[in-house]
């Protein structure tokens, strides 16, 4: 078959075998992608947050080199042993770093096992205390083993360790859809092309693989596989519309997201009876990933009392009555003891916050005794930096690895004149309050939120203020943490506050030796109150139910109390007690439950806003740019392969060819082309010429079934002359082209008039 034949090209190429070397390279690339997928998860989700990226990459690179070198020198059994030893060493290092003695670890193997199971059932790795060390211990084994086996051309086995690693990360919820899909495709590529390499496959087979890949990608986009996984749904489905602030901050047990634009729910959440105003804390977070807050450490069962702050404190007792279902337990910092319904199943985090194990129901109530710190500024100024060990060793000074030096420089400028942690905190707080505006309508930045807020954004809401302040303090080496909960709410009586969804809030706690955690409020209070009052006023105007208790509904918003709680006191001279402008009728407090609370279900926005993950808030563009590129590319490859496979492409080109002879060539080439066109024509009317059939035989058998146009014979003869006698005149060729043009026009009259070649 000469390559000049327009007809033969595709079929020849398709079945041509490609050297196994090419397939081998693709298979190795597949393993590479698989390895890259889980290393990327480790990097992005762990080391870029807690540090150790360089070490991680160094370890991975060293393992790749070692695997390449050892691939031909040691036997698989030795390699598996080596990988197991590497993994064992890695994890014992981790346990050591996490403060667990090896002996203890072995004797407490059941606890370790249950930890692993906990991880594998959806606990993100970042919630581990020594996440970075864990990642370093986790990576070497699978990287080494999979690359080693791939180098030895055992592609199927090489996918096992890598696949296991990726699966584990999927189960912890760290590996997102795109990464998982890439990793899986890498694995399938490795197996499939490894097989082709073993068996000398052809391009045609590679085509089929490409089509299958594209199909897999398309299908997997419409299915969510891992229920506990990070990604609640298909990548493309964008939950549009803002979430509630409350949902953003406070829905997830272990982490607190940072959203973009948020709404406020004016519904009443609870009422609190307390001797003094206070912020109602619901969550404490220590690790910052750049776009969300994560709580590390364990929870333990509440056993009746909690550790008290190291310094002086006053105790305050609050009674909280819930008006809706709620998954947290709002209470004034820092709780010492809790009593009430459902408290038997409460648990305590390492950070001293109490959480319900199950969602608390409407009309549940509990009483909390809290230790309220009210230190004098001077005391704090002289508190020094002599932090206890557990604060030193904790995540309270963690910043993401990629935090820029601009951020640190800017912070350093702001605290330039501050000599001690307290003054630094005050300086940062007042800087944020004065330089940024309050707005609920912001677009979430794509990078490090604290950084972008400080350096680029002009406005934000409490989450942004608190995040920025916490990170700024940490960059100055002051232990700080991000806390969420509710602002004090609307005061309706001397000692009673009504707290609504719109009071959801985030603020900062800073540690002072000898005192404990002291609250700071970086959000401009007046602006916040105004914005929230507007929402409530609108809701009242619309007559929305569930937004007021009987006590609160008569109170006009303008007269509401000053915002600052006592906890915020130290930096504001600690003087303000809430104004006494509440109504008197505290006796009716029982009835209000029936009157309002019962009818109102939870705000629908709440449930819609429970997903705090970044995908949903990101503007469409960045999410398209990467994932769509990958998916689009693979779809295109699949499409091209499919077109080749189905022959649509050649069909189209042949149809075009039928009508248009094309530019002139040598008489012989033209005569041949004319005949090919005739053949396409005949093929449509009768049947295609068989490979083993000569032109003469073909035309002869056709004329047996049907009277053939003499012009057809003429073209066939011209072709024979051109092809086999090597002696063809231009006139004869032109005549043949003319004849084929005529025939084409006659048989397919639709667009035939355009040809005049």
């Amino acid at each position: 078959m000469s390559s000049r034949s327009k007809r033969g090209v595709t079929s020849v190429d398709l079945d041509g075998t490609v050297g196994p070397r090419a397939f081998r390279i693709v298979a190795l690339g597949g393993i590479g992608i698989l390895t890259a997928s889980y290393v990327r998860v480790l990097h992005q989700d762990v080391t870029s947050v807690v540090g150790g990226t360089e070490t991680l990459f160094a370890v991975v690179a060293a393992m790749l080199v070692a695997a390449t070198v050892l691939a031909y020198t040691i036997r698989p059994r030795t390699a598996i042993l080596a990988a197991t030893v590497a993994a064992a060493v890695g994890f014992s290092y981790y346990l050591n770093a996490a403060g667990v003695e090896l002996g203890v670890a072995i004797s407490a193997w059941d606890a370790l096992l249950s930890d692993a199971i906990t991880l594998a059932t959806g606990l993100p790795i970042l919630r581990m205390v020594e996440a970075g060390t864990w990642a370093l211990g986790f990576a070497p084994g699978p990287v080494f083993l999979s690359w080693y086996l791939a180098m030895r051309e055992r592609y199927v086995w090489s996918v096992v360790p890598g696949g296991f690693a990726l699966l584990f990360l999927v189960l912890t919820g760290n590996a997102g859809i795109t990464v998982t899909m890439l990793g899986t495709l890498g694995a399938i590529t490795a197996v499939a092309f490894g097989e082709l390499a073993h068996r000398d496959g052809s391009i045609a087979q590679a085509d089929i693989l490409a089509i299958i890949f594209a199909l897999m990608i398309a299908l997997s986009l419409s299915v969510t596989v891992i229920p506990g996984g990070d990604n609640g749904g298909p990548v493309f489905i964008d939950s549009d519309g803002p979430q509630t602030l409350e949902g953003t901050i406070d829905s997830s047990p272990g982490h607190s997201g940072i959203g973009g634009q948020v709404d406020l729910s004016p519904e009443v959440r609870f009422t609190a009876e307390s001797e003094r105003a206070s912020y109602w804390r619901t969550g404490v977070y220590d690790r910052f990933t750049g776009d969300e807050w994560v709580r590390t450490g364990e929870t333990s069962e509440y056993d009746g009392s909690l550790e008290s702050p190291p310094g002086d404190y006053e105790t305050v007792e609050q009674e909280i009555d819930l008006e809706t279902e709620i998954g947290t337990m709002p209470m004034a910092a820092h709780p010492l003891s809790v009593e009430g319904s459902g408290i038997g199943v409460a648990e305590v985090t390492d950070h001293g916050q109490i959480h319900p194990v199950e969602t608390l129901l409407e009309r549940d109530e509990y009483t909390v005794e809290s230790a309220v710190l009210d230190p004098e500024p001077n005391e704090l100024r002289t508190a020094g930096r002599n932090y206890p060990d557990e604060i030193q060793a904790s995540e309270y000074r963690q910043t993401p690895e990629d935090t820029s030096s601009e951020f640190e420089d800017e912070t350093a400028d702001i605290v330039e004149h501050a000599d001690n942690p307290y003054e630094k905190a005050v300086a940062i707080e007042s800087h944020l309050r004065s330089s940024k505006d309050y707005s609920l309508d912001v677009e979430k930045p794509s990078g490090n939120v604290a950084e972008d807020f400080l350096l680029e954004m002009d406005e934000g809401y409490c989450v942004y203020f608190a995040t920025a302040m916490t990170q700024m303090l940490r960059s100055e080496d002051v232990p700080a943490r991000y806390v969420t909960g509710y602002a004090e709410g609307q005061q309706v009586d001397d000692d009673e506050w009504v707290v609504r969804g719109l009071d959801a809030h985030a603020w900062v706690e800073v540690y002072f030796p000898g005192h404990g955690w002291v609250e700071f409020e970086p959000t401009p209070p007046g602006d916040r109150q105004d914005a929230h009052d507007d929402v409530l006023q609108d809701a009242r105007d619309e007559g929305q139910s569930g937004i007021d208790t009987e006590q609160s509904e008569d109170i006009p918003l303008e007269e509401e109390e000053e915002e600052d709680p006592d906890g915020d006191g130290p930096d504001e001279n600690g003087t303000e007690d809430p104004d006494e402008n509440g109504s008197e009728d505290g006796t009716e407090s029982e009835e209000r439950n029936e009157s309002n609370g019962n009818e109102s279900g939870p705000d629908p926005d709440d449930s819609g806003g429970t997903d705090t993950e970044s995908e949903d808030e990101e503007s469409i563009l960045p999410s398209i740019s990467f994932e769509d590129a990958v998916i689009g590319l693979s779809l295109v490859v699949g499409l091209v392969a499919g077109i080749r496979r189905s022959g649509v492409g050649s069909h189209v080109s042949r149809t075009a060819h039928l009508y248009w002879h094309g530019s002139q060539d040598t008489p012989a080439a033209d005569a041949e082309r004319a005949y090919r066109r005739l053949e396409i024509l005949l093929e449509r009317t009768y049947r295609p010429r068989r490979e083993n059939e000569s032109v003469r035989e073909y035309l002869a058998t056709l004329s047996e079934t049907d009277e053939l146009d003499p012009r057809i014979d003429e073209v066939g003869k011209t072709y024979e002359l051109a092809k086999y006698s090597g002696d063809i005149s231009r006139e004869r060729t032109d005549e043949a082209i003319e004849l084929v043009d005529e025939l084409a026009r006659e048989r397919l009259p639709v667009i035939g008039n355009s040809t005049d070649a």
Partner: protein, 325 residues
């Protein structure tokens, strides 16, 4: 491969004769064919194969049961051409010198002089060639391939044209010697006549009553015309696509049989195709010519290990699966 014609051409004193026009050769082959048909009833295919074999400078092996007209076909073609014709009846006691000729001592001149054997003729009919022992059979080898005979160290040219038409019996295998594979390879075509169908046989019976038509058969052409016609055939165009097709066919047989056809076989294939093309009035070879002659040219050059498949079925498979351009 196009100029292989010259290598196969015997070195003769006829220095490149003037080729006839293609149409003339085509008519000529028709005339010879018609002439033979006066004796042989039916077997049109076989007759045309024999005629083209002579035009294509090939030798023919007729292989069949006795009495189907092998010898009659050979005789009638020899008669149709006005040329030297000799016949050798191969028997188990035939000696090589009985074929090639022998030096005898002349008492008068007191010198050895060469008495040419029957091989010194334009058309040699080797009847029942497989009855002679291999030594005698191989005496034909040099003659067929080189167009010359060497006796007692002296090489003598055979006349031009020189064509061997051999017949062999397919029966009584225990009293025959199979032709050596190398010798079979030297025959351009191996033909089977087969029994005539009832109409033809009755027609044949009618003709043989009284005088046998072979006795009244006359020559329709002379030696010089044949030589010039052969030149025409040798000059027929074989373009690359056809050469490649022949090569692919040969390659197929080499891949799918114990021994496929040799390069000599491929040469013969194209020569036969050229002859066929010219006999059809075409000065160039098309793949159909190759296809037409392939079964008779290729089959006997193929050895299979599989009893179920003979050379012919290999060739049929090759024609089925090798692509034409």
């Amino acid at each position: 491969m196009t100029n292989t014609n010259t290598t196969a051409r015997p070195a003769s004193d006829h220095s490149s004769p003037n080729p006839l026009p293609v149409d003339t050769v085509s008519t000529l082959s028709e005339e010879i064919h018609d002439n033979i048909s006066r004796v042989i009833v039916g077997h049109d295919e076989a007759i045309s194969h024999v005629v083209t074999a002579i035009l294509g400078r090939g030798h023919v092996l007729l292989d069949d049961v006795p009495g189907v007209g092998k010898t009659m076909l050979a005789r009638s073609i020899a008669t149709s051409v006005d040329c030297e014709f000799s016949r050798v009846q191969f028997t188990p006691d035939l000696l090589p010198t009985d074929v090639t000729g022998v030096n005898v001592f002349n008492q008068k001149t007191r010198e050895f002089e060469f008495r040419p054997g029957p091989v010194f003729a334009n058309i040699v009919l080797g009847d029942e060639i497989n009855r002679a022992p291999p030594k005698t059979q191989s005496s034909l080898l040099e003659a067929m391939e080189e167009g010359q005979v060497t006796v007692d160290g002296t090489t003598r040219q055979l006349p031009n044209p020189f064509t061997v038409i051999a017949t062999q019996n397919a029966v009584e295998p225990n009293r025959t010697y199979d032709l050596p594979f190398a010798e079979v390879d030297r025959f351009m075509k191996k033909l089977h006549l087969g029994y005539p169908d009832p109409d033809e046989e009755s027609e044949m019976l009618g003709r043989t009553v009284g005088q046998h038509p072979i006795d009244s058969l006359e020559a329709v052409t002379d030696l010089e015309t044949i030589v010039r016609a052969r030149e025409t055939v040798a000059n027929a165009t074989v373009e690359a696509p056809v050469r490649e097709y022949a090569t692919r066919l040969a390659g197929y047989t080499r891949e799918h049989a114990h021994i496929g056809i040799s390069p000599r076989g491929t040469i013969s294939l194209l020569q036969a195709a050229q002859a066929h093309a010219v006999s059809q009035g075409r000065g160039y070879v098309v793949p159909d010519d190759v296809k037409h002659v392939a079964p008779v040219v290729m089959s006997h050059r193929i050895k299979t290990t599989d009893r179920e498949r003979d050379g012919r079925s290999v060739v049929e498979d090759a024609l089925e699966s090798v692509s034409v351009e």
